[in-house]
Amino acid sequence: MADLISYIIRKVILAIPVIVLATLIVFLMLYLTGDPVQQLRSPRDSPQDIQDIREKYGFDQPIIVQYGRFLVNLLHGDFGSSVAQGTTGTSVSSLIVQKLPLTLELMAIGLTISYSLGIPLGVFSALRQNSWKDRSVMVFTLVAYAMPSFWLGILLMLVFSVYLHVLPTEGTVGGLKSIILPALTLGLGNAALTTRMMRSSMLEVARQDYITQLRSRGLRERDVIFKHAMKNAILPVITVIGLDIGWFVGGAVIVETVFSWPGIGMLITDSITGSDFPTVQGCILVLAFFVILGNLTADILYAFADPRVRLG
């Protein structure tokens, strides 16, 4: 147990430089196009206004001072304020706090869908290896994985809302019903990955000696699979749950835009089209933080499942 705790502490400390580097990249993004004032000003500003903006945001100071100030502000939870038409002056952090629960809700349901679909399907496929059922599952995973999420979203919308009229097209007005399609869109691609992993992991475990030994002892096939094989086969699938967060964070941006789901993802898209750069920066930092957190979770779960990792 002590080695596990020291491993976790080591991993948390190692995550700090990654977070700092992420802030540096997000900070430098402003300078990619040259003069950052161009990102913040509105087209109607006079040269005097532009000078004012330059001084107000401290762009007249050395870049290292600016980055330092950016970091200090971040530590105070200050992401700057929005420069978009409707929300000028609103602090980015309050916008994010307002939208974040919706994105988390979407990701949580998406994650649930992808695992409750992927794991049984993977086991099913492995138990019927090389049959036509297995092959059709594999074809499904190939297509589901290749399908860009915005196109899948449109297709689901076309079938369930436009033709069958059973689910609402967009927004949050339909209550629980309106989250089904976005969450399904978000979860399906990852469900394909989970299915493939679960299948190969199950096949790997089923080949091992202890399974043969259990069968030769006369255990029922059902018990061999679900009581003994599943336990070991599911571990590698569960440990990557953290890494899946990266997939979901990227997918949420697209899915929210398709279904007008008013979370962080839609906020990013709106901010990009509205040239609201401080909001884009803030949202990307928050999403980056979740990705880092997800990776950390994956590392910890992995060490939990496989004691050899802790010593490495």
Binding site: M29, A146, W151, L155, G246, V291
Partner: protein
């Protein structure tokens, strides 16, 4: 005399290495032909690429020409129907393929270049150089490429060139990881030591000995990478951060068909189907080649 001989041996050695690289390509064509996934994937890519390359000379409407037939369903004159401005959807899908394939291929070529140089340098030199580069690689590897590309595209402003740049700087880490791992293992091999004893310099060793040994996994990754790049490009265009109208692009076509989904579903669905088939083609080719060239790489991509 010894110098001449050293030069000669080195040339012989590098010729044999080149032969090794050539062998990889021979393997791909002979063994790939027997693999169903490779054949299907390659056929799809070939057909789409041919249609894309030949689209200016095919007897179809120009993709930006407006006609009076607004929002018409598929017919013999407009196979995929027309959009809200009366433009031929079939022609726009083909011209969109030009954009998608060009952007994706260029982006992957650039990220391959960045990745190979970074990975080789890190893995071959080791030490402090490796520490810094490996850290950077891990950082870029950790982040979803789409999110990075979105951030860069937003910062750079949307244009075709910027999309290529954004994807390249977001996607190279996979190639770099691969190269670094290979370089780390290959540099300990005897033939590298022999080559160094013969007086070959670092650059020469890296490019004539270490690199040819990595060609097979790089090809697999590049094929899957093109599929990913097409997805990223069309996603960016869908969000309005990528290719800008009037340039035909699959992502933007899907987006513009969204308001008319009920009355004119063909505007969105046809570009979507072709997009899916293309991505599927590159994925199939990549997966198939991976099975053919090196079954041990099966765990490489989750």
């Amino acid at each position: 005399m010894t110098r001449i001989r050293a030069g000669l041996s080195d040339r012989l050695l590098s010729w044999r290495m080149l032969g090794g690289a050539r062998q990889t390509f021979v393997d791909i064509s002979t063994r790939g032909r027997k693999n169903g996934m490779v054949v299907i994937g390659f056929t799809i890519i070939l057909v789409i690429t041919l249609l894309a390359v030949l689209s200016p000379w095919l007897p179809i409407a120009k993709p930006t020409v407006l006609s009076p037939d607004l929002t018409q369903g598929p017919s013999s004159s407009h196979w995929f129907g027309t959009d809200q401005l009366g433009r031929d959807v079939f022609s726009r899908v083909l011209w969109g393929a030009r954009v998608s394939l060009t952007v994706a291929t260029l982006a992957i070529v650039f990220s391959l270049l960045i990745g190979v140089i970074m990975g080789l340098t890190a893995g071959y030199y080791g030490g402090a150089v490796d520490y810094v580069i490996a850290g950077t690689i891990d950082l870029f590897w950790t982040f979803p490429a789409f999110l990075l590309a979105l951030a860069f595209a937003a910062a750079l402003g949307s244009s075709l060139t910027n999309v290529i740049i954004a994807i390249s700087i977001s996607y190279w880490a996979g190639f770099a990881r691969l190269m670094r791992g290979q370089a780390l293992s290959v540099r300990e091999r005897l033939f590298v030591e022999a080559s160094r004893a013969l007086g070959a310099n670092n650059k020469r060793i890296m490019f004539t000995h270490v690199l040819p040994n990595c060609i097979a996994p790089l090809i697999v990754w590049a094929s899957v990478g093109v599929a990913d790049a097409i997805t990223i490009e069309s996603s960016l265009s869908f969000l309005g951060a990528g290719t800008q109208p009037p340039t035909p692009s699959w992502g933007y076509m899907l987006h513009s068909g969204l308001p008319a989904l009920q009355e004119a579903p063909w505007i969105s669905t046809f570009p979507g189907i072709v997009l899916l088939i293309t991505v599927l083609g590159f994925n199939l080719l990549g997966d198939g080649l991976r099975d053919v060239l090196d079954p041990r790489m099966k765990g490489l991509r989750r």
